[in-house]
Symmetry: D2
Subunit: 259 residues, 4 copies
């Protein structure tokens, strides 16, 4: 692609006209839910009925998780130091990373790579779990440090079942769960990241968009936390846990050879 | 508030339980649209039917505006330099600011301050416009550099009319539009920022949340742009317009007194 | 300025040639200290001997302040969530703000506005302090929550005295200190932000660059903290102080009218 | 390490006392150059004379490179949208990444891994280059898209030679340059990133700190660009190169099944 001209397939702007993926913005404002519009913007096409329902449920599922996630700490901290709402939300999004929201991407990558193979789901799962155990890698998207049973996973699967929404990736994820239980002798259930990874894979989303679902869903929560900080707390309040021990070199002097 | 204990009124987390503003996350995933869940998270209560419709329309309206906004340039640029999706989106949100998405906040502030007064809307508008002209301040949220008629404003007001959704702030905004036309002798129509400012004010949102509506709406668009950059462009491509002239001091030498 | 062509007076780039403010980069690498090069880049000219010394002392003074500053919390937190070194440092710089490092800018603004007046320093200080007390505004750059005597201020003034470096802004700052003591009946000494504000004002730096001195000085400290986090801590460790009480609405149900 | 207590070996803070790596901040302000203080903060010990000189030269070398680097575009863009100096600099640092400043880290990693082996430098270089050619990997830190001869590399090596500063990593880098020329039949010279990578490796810095040298050196340049944007340009000016073609789906309609 020449560097002289950009190309974009997302939105066409003309005077008095805005078309997203070919659809007039006014018509979108009349007919689409926000989650449908998000699906369209990311995917380039409108969702089917069951995809629309799954998309809605995914985006609602991760809207907030209280004060403990690192992204909330950063967002509140940036605001508390005397910055604007958008800088604070940016600080929050910056703190989403490989180990906070990142399991969606990693799990979807594995599911998509394995689901491409022609074997049956059950034998794929067996092989995958055996590979992971051999390589001593923990399957991303399974197990949770806080919730034994994560209410979001339970609900996401209930909705998938109600809609008869299930494709090869979701089946593979469930077969992996069974295999992990068999191999490890204890339950390591699919968590909300794993469930989202399976569902978006069945919707045809590239695993590299994994973090996007978490980001889009969580930004409203980050805004709420920044607003709560703005309206209920004093600037520069103690947000960190600073029970800190210095274990570096003891007091010493700079030799006279300097300066 | 003591610094020893945080307080939050947003989300209650217990083992296996997540309640947002008092509502179970599973129930939310069953019953709420994403825009309703956003309303709830920000406002602390569920939207009325007409508020729900206005919220949906607002969030769909600003989902993307092509490649020209500064937030898109930053997001693509951060990604193109070899950073992650979340860092790139953070860069985009960081580039939303007082002059990019900021008019919602500024316009809502003015509308909320003036709507509190007891006078009739028409006379308030007259006084407000006269004050602005005297102080040589441009009313934020009115006029647009690209669109003479912004299709998003048109549709937002159509929807408001269809729903009979109109409160004192929306009326004031419309009266200000009339007054501006009268005083300036040319039409300076409410733009999409002004329309959103009026509607969220009638929903009871604090003007300090103004930028939040733009951020939440635009994040999916930013993700789509980063993903397009990821899948269609080479790293470190020329994103800036570097037809640049150096007009600083001519070549000179460092005196020997240094070092 | 036309939008078609950028102009810059900072650095001229030609094939095989880089001139910063007119000076060849190779010559700079031979002859300038890093703090002299910083002075040149920001100011457009080389520092005088005493300015060079003051600049060096300022930049060394704020290089680190342990784990408690918000910028350290953000930087470590962004890294701990699974992000890169540059994203983590960016998160730290984002957390410098009006109430963290911002007093330099605010204090320098006041000093520069008042020093412009023709009156004697002593009477300016009297008037300024009386204005502040009347308006119930705390003079930025005076007093410290942790250090009664800040060793950095003490040293900065010692160096200024040794060099006979003192201009109208530094004199005004010292006169304000005396006036504050007289008016308030207790000592409210110039802190390190105030001292830096006075010194950079005497060097002719615009108050709008106030935060820059803190940012440039502190970035190495932020890097050291991120590196310590990288090499000594586990990902996603508990960085916040989450002794948190939920004080929002009690558990409730979503009415059936939704969905 | 328990999560209940932080540990830090960087700075000890007591009332009225600040010790960085064991040295009193006041003494540092008297005796250390800024680059020595940076060395100390990152490394935990004071630099030797030749290390001090190399450190100074490295930090001066990358202080600015005009308007074309992505980090400058982001920093100016964040400011131009109506944000603060620190948010703009954060946006700039965020745009440093694997392909902008990242070659220092990558090159240092390779040099450090290979220099550990017991073989002679010449044979190591032969094996390394042969491995790279076989794997079709370009050696990071060699070659430059703009400068055929980078004045910063030339000067850095001149200074190293003058100081008799040369260790196994610098030798290996030079041997790799020779091998690349022999194997490829054309000169692919060490660029400034490669030169810095070699020098910091000989100073004993971990390759994971590679980007740090670029960040610390470039932040003053970013500040200068933001300040130039602040004082010479209008808000929201056209910073991107938006000669853009829409190549997405043609205008289409949303089916009535939606809503």
């Amino acid at each position: 692609m020449s560097e002289d001209k950009w190309k974009t397939a997302i939105t066409e702007i003309k005077k008095g006209e805005i078309n997203v993926r070919g659809y007039d913005i006014g018509e979108m404002m009349d007919k689409l839910s926000f989650s449908d519009a998000i699906f369209l913007t990311l995917k380039g096409q409108l969702p089917e009925k069951d995809e629309s329902e799954m998309m809605r449920a995914i985006l609602v599922s991760s809207i907030d998780h209280g004060v403990t996630p690192p992204s909330v700490l950063s967002a509140r901290n940036v605001f508390s130091s005397g910055n604007s709402l958008n800088a604070a939300v940016a600080g929050g999004v910056l703190s989403i990373g490989d180990v906070h929201g990142g399991a969606i991407e990693k799990c979807a990558k594995i599911l998509q790579e394995w689901a491409k193979k022609s074997d049956e789901v059950a034998s794929l799962a067996k092989e995958l779990v055996s590979d992971l155990i051999y390589a001593k890698i923990r399957m991303p998207g399974f197990g949770h440090r806080l919730h034994e049973i994560d209410p979001r996973t339970v609900k996401l699967f209930q909705i998938a079942q109600r809609l008869n929404f299930s494709g090869r990736h979701l089946e593979l994820a469930q077969a992996v769960e069974t295999e992990l239980t068999n191999s490890l002798g204890k339950k390591l259930p699919i968590n909300v990241d794993g469930a989202i990874a399976a569902v978006i894979s069945d919707m045809g989303f590239d695993w590299r968009l994994g973090k996007a679902f978490f980001i889009i869903s969580r930004v409203p929560g980050l805004v709420a936390h920044v607003y709560e900080e703005m309206t209920r707390e004093k600037p520069m309040r103690k947000l960190g846990d600073w029970n800190c021990e210095y274990d570096g070199p003891a007091k010493r002097e700079i030799p006279d050879s300097y300066k």
